[in-house]
């Protein structure tokens, strides 16, 4: 049965789009049939991170309003044939999405794919609530920083009250994805620790993605990090997270601060983690 997953956070800039692309690609690399859907109407970016920005013809709003068929709007990834993108509109505003239209499209996508990953816009308004509306599971992307944790808490409250599943008395599965994590700063007490965030938000941990050059490089290249540099630390963390999303039990290794010797500090060289 198809799984609809919303990737959400409340706060902007924490890594929702990057994570949607990386998790979607990782699931597809594992053989699943995946579509990533951009709900950020007006400010689309998933196409850019996926490297498909020049191939967008129709978008989510066109399909919702009946101007295009779903198959016409879906863009198949050039690297992975079982990965598709449904882009958001760049010109309309968020009110162009209707609740019924989104429900119909999610229903059609459920027929075609194993996984439907919805990249939520920041905030708690229409776009964000529609993105989470039909989800079976949620990935709450959070940075170890006060405003991000607060907003995530708010989003968790909405997931428990405003989703279709919650309204029918069910419970939506929520997973915490801690991104841009800097273990060295956390160990020095400059940043909230993994345990702090987990204790405050009290939802299970899906993965910890370290702050990394590789993620930025992947965005620059227009490829999910699991495709751009599959052997890198963030790519492996995303790949593990994707497998946990599928229900596999995989040991989570807490990121250790990089140990840098005197010479390393002097020359700024990084030990390979």
């Amino acid at each position: 049965m198809a799984q609809v997953v919303v990737v959400t956070s409340g706060k902007g800039g924490v890594g929702k789009t990057t994570s949607t692309a990386a998790l979607g690609a990782a699931l597809a690399q594992g053989g699943e049939n995946v579509v990533v859907v951009d709900f950020d109407v007006g400010l689309r970016n998933l196409d850019l991170v996926m490297g498909a920005e020049r191939r967008v013809v129709f978008d989510l709003v066109n399909v919702v309003q009946g101007d295009a068929k779903l198959a016409q709007a879906l863009i198949r990834d050039k690297r992975l044939e079982n990965l598709s993108l449904l882009p958001a509109s760049q010109t309309r505003d968020k009110d162009a999405l209707t609740s019924e239209g989104v429900e119909r499209i999610i229903g059609e996508l459920r027929e075609k794919f194993d996984w439907i990953l919805c990249d939520s816009p920041a905030g708690i308004e229409r776009g964000a609530t529609l993105a989470m509306r039909h989800a079976d599971q949620a990935v709450v992307v959070t940075n170890a920083e006060v405003s991000s944790v607060r907003d995530s808490d708010r989003i968790i409250g909405l997931l428990d009250s405003k989703t279709e599943k919650a309204e029918k008395g069910g419970r939506i599965d929520k997973h915490l994805l801690l991104t841009r994590y800097d273990a060295a700063r956390a160990s020095r007490g400059e940043m909230l620790k993994v345990e702090d965030v987990l204790e405050i938000l009290s939802i299970p941990l899906l993965g910890i993605i370290p702050e990394s050059q590789d993620v930025l490089r992947a965005s620059n290249l227009g490829a999910p990090v699991t495709l751009a540099s599959p052997g890198s630390v963030p790519a492996r963390a995303y790949a593990d997270a994707a497998r946990r999303l599928k229900g596999e039990q995989i040991q989570l290794v807490m990121p250790a601060p990089e140990s840098r010797g005197f010479l390393g500090k002097l020359f700024g060289r990084r030990a390979v983690a």
Partner: protein
């Protein structure tokens, strides 16, 4: 930053953790729709408004959400009634008819 401040500086993450815990404990209640403090504030003001014309600009509300206790301080300037001896201190006590 000199060497001394480097040694003296206390880690800020535990402060962040504590602030979040207190804040979220309150916000969860607010979103749940039964924020006692907010309800009290509204009802107290409604009671006063029943007896005197309230000027919202002259109502000062101070709120401090804390861990064991929260405090709600409402300072209302009640216009002196002709039948009462003149008092200028305002406050809840003066709201008695």
């Amino acid at each position: 930053m000199n060497l001394l401040t480097l040694f003296r500086r206390r880690p800020s993450a535990p402060v962040a953790r504590e602030r979040l815990q207190v804040l979220l404990a309150h916000e969860r209640v607010v979103v749940g729709g039964s924020d006692l403090i907010a309800v009290l504030q509204e009802e107290i003001l409604a009671v006063i408004a029943k007896h005197v014309a309230l000027d919202r600009d002259k109502v000062q509300i101070k709120l401090d959400r804390g861990d064991p206790v929260s405090t709600l301080e409402i300072d209302v300037e009640v216009p002196s009634l002709p039948s009462l001896p003149r008092r200028r201190d305002g406050g809840l006590a003066a709201a008695r008819p």
